[in-house]
């Protein structure tokens, strides 16, 4: 007669083996080491050691390919991996100073009074520290630019920069007819301003600014040019000049980041056709605006409008507090941005600089999809629409200002409409009679065509030899270039750089591209 104890123990075994470890070790059916209905123990168990040598030997006469190299000395790298995002941060790191570089004795900073002067042309000018901080906040510096080679950020005021400075002056309302001549064409808006304001020299312009204010203008420009010709740098210079002049600067550092579907988006309620907000991105942009325009936000001006944000605002809310609300509550960041914009466009506020880099990314469908799985056009994203409205001239800046967009030649999706609009604008500015015509057999993005109908461009060309010489002398003075800077040397480098392409010039002189 079999013992009942044995049967009982077996039934226990099945239910809870952990309580009977001594029995369990002798048990024969050890395969599932857990209760029948639980998988957690098996799931969290250590993986069984891989069996080695189970692979059958190759058949006779069959060659087996063994391409493993140095099987003996393979060391498994057990060191801690960099944290998420750390590698990217290292790659995108922006270094703005090189302690090894020499101090350039003759380097002077851009100043508020003389920043827009025409006399700066062909000089290398240092960027003041607070401007550097602001530019860093708006991510105007790019990792591919050569800031990391020099003691502190400085930039060459080239012909196009002087043009831009003249436009800034026009936007501020002091129109100088001599600078209109520099611009080389009648600016429809600027000409009537020129009639009103008497001719003033660059030095007198500041005094005039205090005394009388001309009509403020909205200047809209697209920066175009060859690869490495300094388009982003010119945009940076524009932003720097705006910072120096005390403008409010709002910069979209890379258009690609807005449209490549890496940030959350949501339809904007009561919008027809549906627009989409990007709350996280907008909150981030608000924090950038706050950080970059410290001077403007620090004077605590209470807001005058009553924005409907859905959250109660305390009495006498300052602009800074308003922006902080948007930063802390990303859900209402877009209404906060709209409220901020309404405040910024009130009379008496400083001019506004709107910048964007990589324009062609926003001249097509974005990577986002609508609810019925249709691609969303980039112009249906609220932030971009806001920018585009100002770029196209649909809305203007009542306190004056500039909308500056730079194209990119190395990272730009094809946008036939943008290319066409730029070529038309160039032809228009060159006053050539025959404007290019649209190739009827290519697809047209009508929204883009409408937006860029009457856009004007700033063409960034090569440096002149004098400008190249100033730059090369700055390189030599910083100790980054070890050569005698004379006429043949400058001419050689200027020619090697494709007649003064500034990026190539840098590559040929300081980048040691050997």
């Amino acid at each position: 007669m079999p013992s009942s104890v044995c049967i009982r123990s077996i039934s226990h075994l099945v239910r809870d083996r952990a309580a009977h470890t001594s029995i369990a070790s002798r048990c024969l059916f050890a395969a599932p080491q857990s209760a029948g209905f639980s998988t957690s123990a098996a799931r969290y168990a250590l993986p069984s050691k891989k069996k080695t040598g189970t692979v059958a030997a190759p058949k006779r006469g069959v060659k087996s390919l063994n391409v493993k190299k140095g099987r003996k000395g393979v060391q498994v790298d057990t060191a801690k991996r960099p944290a998420q995002g750390e590698r990217r941060a290292l790659r995108k790191r922006i270094v703005l100073s090189n302690n090894n570089a020499l101090e350039v004795p003759y380097l002077t900073d851009l100043e508020k009074t003389s920043a827009l002067s025409k006399k700066n042309q062909g000089q290398v000018k240092g960027l003041p520290e607070e401007v550097v901080d602001s530019l860093r906040a708006v991510e105007a510096f790019k990792p591919t630019q050569g800031w990391s080679l020099f003691r502190r950020p400085a930039t060459l005021i080239r012909k196009e920069t002087v043009q831009l400075a003249a436009l800034l002056k026009v936007a501020e309302g002091h129109v100088n007819s001599t600078e209109q001549a520099v611009e080389g064409r009648e600016d429809g808006e600027a000409v009537d301003g020129a009639k009103e304001v008497a001719e003033v020299t660059a030095e007198e312009a500041v005094a005039v600014a205090v005394a009388e204010e001309g009509p403020k203008k909205t200047i809209r420009r697209v920066i175009v040019g060859e690869k490495m010709s300094g388009k982003s740098s010119l945009l940076l210079q524009g932003l720097a000049l705006a910072f120096v002049r005390g403008w409010v600067v709002i910069n979209l550092p890379d258009a690609q980041d807005i449209v490549n579907a890496h940030t959350a988006y949501a339809p904007l309620p009561e919008s027809e056709p549906t627009q989409y907000t990007q709350d996280i991105y907008t909150a981030n942009l608000l924090s950038q605006i706050l950080k970059a325009n410290k001077g403007f936000f620090s004077n605590t001006t209470p807001i005058t409008t009553q924005p409907e944000l859905g959250v109660p605002l305390p009495a006498n809310t300052t602009l800074e507090q308003l922006v902080n609300i948007g930063i802390n509550n990303p859900d209402i960041s877009w209404p906060v941005f709209v409220a901020l914009w309404a405040e910024l466009t009130l009379p008496g506020r400083p001019p506004i600089m709107l910048g964007i880099d990589g324009l062609s990314h926003i001249m097509r469908n974005s990577e986002y999809f609508s609810a019925d799985v249709k691609p969303i056009h980039a112009h249906d994203l609220t932030l971009i629409r806001h920018f585009i409205d100002h770029l196209s001239g649909k809305s203007s800046l009542p306190n004056g200002g500039m909308v500056l967009a730079a194209i990119s030649k190395s990272n730009s999706p094809t946008s036939a409409a943008l290319d066409f609009s730029i070529s038309v604008a160039e032809a228009r500015q060159a006053r050539s009679g025959n404007l290019p015509t649209w190739n009827l057999y290519t697809k047209v993005d009508q929204r883009v065509m409408d937006v860029l109908k009457d856009i004007e461009v700033i063409k960034v060309g090569g440096l002149s030899k004098a400008e190249a010489r100033a730059l090369i002398e700055y390189y030599a003075a910083s100790g980054m270039l070890r050569a005698k800077v004379d006429e043949p040397f400058v001419t050689e480098k200027w020619s090697l750089a494709g007649m003064g392409n500034v990026g190539e010039l840098e590559r040929a002189t300081v980048r040691l591209r050997v």
């Binding site: 790298d77 060191a79 960099p82 590698r87 990217r88 290292l90 790659r91 270094v95 090189n98 302690n99 090894n100 570089a101 020499l102 990391s148 080679l149 100790g479 980054m480 070890r482 980048r511 040691l512 591209r513 050997v514």
Partner: protein, 344 residues
């Protein structure tokens, strides 16, 4: 019976078919007689006109006025008109009042009163005259300082003058880069992609340039004559050269198979040349760099690691030093195996 006379009859007829194409008639390619045609560019005296072919003097046309005057002057031994230039009308009609009266009005006006050298009067504010080469320096078409190539060089046979000696080392296109940089670039190259190697080289030098001033370990002295470490980041090529030359081994060990007997290889130290030494050092450094951890991501990772390794070499922290010392130690131990050339 044969109808023809055949003196040399063979038993078998020899076929002889003269080929038509090989027939050649001696004809001159060009005719010996001179051409009657004269190109406009040919000088007139070489190909005489039709009237001049006759030998009789009376058939010849009368000479031009000035030619005649020149001949007369030649005979009489006086100074005639210059035949190199055309004779101006004013000179021809000089003293001949009838001829002057029959001149066109423009010429009469010109003869009257106005001297031929005076500037033309009119509303035109500019001159249409060309300037003489020796003339006013004020007139400049951008050719000031432009030496035409037609000037006779001082040294015959040298168009642009002799270059100043010694020639610059990087004067030749193929030797434009520093020797060490060239060699390291080639050693960095993988799969023949030199452009990528060049980019890496450039990044390495850039990292060296932005790196901290190295602190030299006195236990690992650099090559004698090295500049102070504060000079190194500003001269990255020197930095690179210094790092490589400092760890470059002087010798290598050649294993002579079976020379030691019993199947044991005999280790013979062999001195290396400068290029070979550098090559060994660079290979060690690149090996050590490839074993380093990649910190970031993207294209410049390897360059960063190589630069870090170079800095470690200069600071004496790199494992390459041990490697070099091991080679030297082994070479010293086996110096008895060196076979010197036999003395006579």
């Amino acid at each position: 019976m044969s109808p023809r006379l055949s003196l040399f009859s063979f038993a078998r007829s020899i076929p002889y078919r003269p080929r038509l194409s090989s027939q050649w008639l001696p004809q001159p390619a060009t005719r010996a007689t001179p051409s009657k045609l004269r190109a406009y560019s040919n000088p007139a005296d070489q190909a005489p006109s039709g009237a001049d072919r006759s030998t009789r003097p009376e058939t010849k046309p009368a000479d031009h006025v000035s030619e005649e005057a020149a001949k007369v002057a030649d005979i009489t031994g006086t100074q005639g008109p210059d035949m190199e230039q055309g004779t101006p009308v004013e000179q021809v009609v000089k003293g001949d009042q009838e001829a002057i009266d029959k001149l066109p009005k423009v010429m009469q006006d010109k003869l009257k009163g106005k001297s031929p050298t005076s500037a033309p009067k009119g509303s035109r504010s500019y001159s249409t005259m060309t300037t003489s080469e020796t003339g006013s320096a004020a007139f400049d078409m951008g050719l000031v300082g432009f030496n035409s190539a037609s000037t006779v060089p001082e040294i015959p046979g040298v168009k642009f003058g002799l270059p100043s000696l010694p020639l610059p080392r990087d004067g030749n296109l193929k030797h434009r880069y520093d020797t060490v940089v060239d060699q390291v670039t080639n050693l960095l190259m993988r799969h023949g992609q030199k452009s990528i190697a060049q980019r890496n080289m450039s990044l390495i030098l850039q990292h060296l340039r932005t790196s901290q001033i190295p602190t030299i370990n006195p236990a690992r002295p650099l090559v004698p004559g090295a500049p102070p470490p504060s000079h190194l980041p500003l001269n990255p090529i020197l930095y690179l050269t210094l790092a490589i030359d400092s760890v470059a081994p002087l010798l290598r060990i050649r294993n002579q198979k079976g020379a030691a007997g019993g199947g044991v290889a005999l280790q013979i130290p062999v001195p290396l040349g400068i290029r070979q030494r550098r090559r060994t050092a660079v290979e060690w450094i690149l090996n050590a760099a490839s074993k380093r951890r990649n910190k970031g991501s993207g294209k410049g990772g390897f360059a960063q690691r190589v630069a870090d390794e170079l800095v470690a070499v200069v600071e004496g922290k790199s494992g390459v030093w041990e490697r070099r010392n091991a080679v030297h130690k082994l070479a010293v131990a086996s110096r008895a195996n060196v076979v010197l050339p036999r003395k006579r």
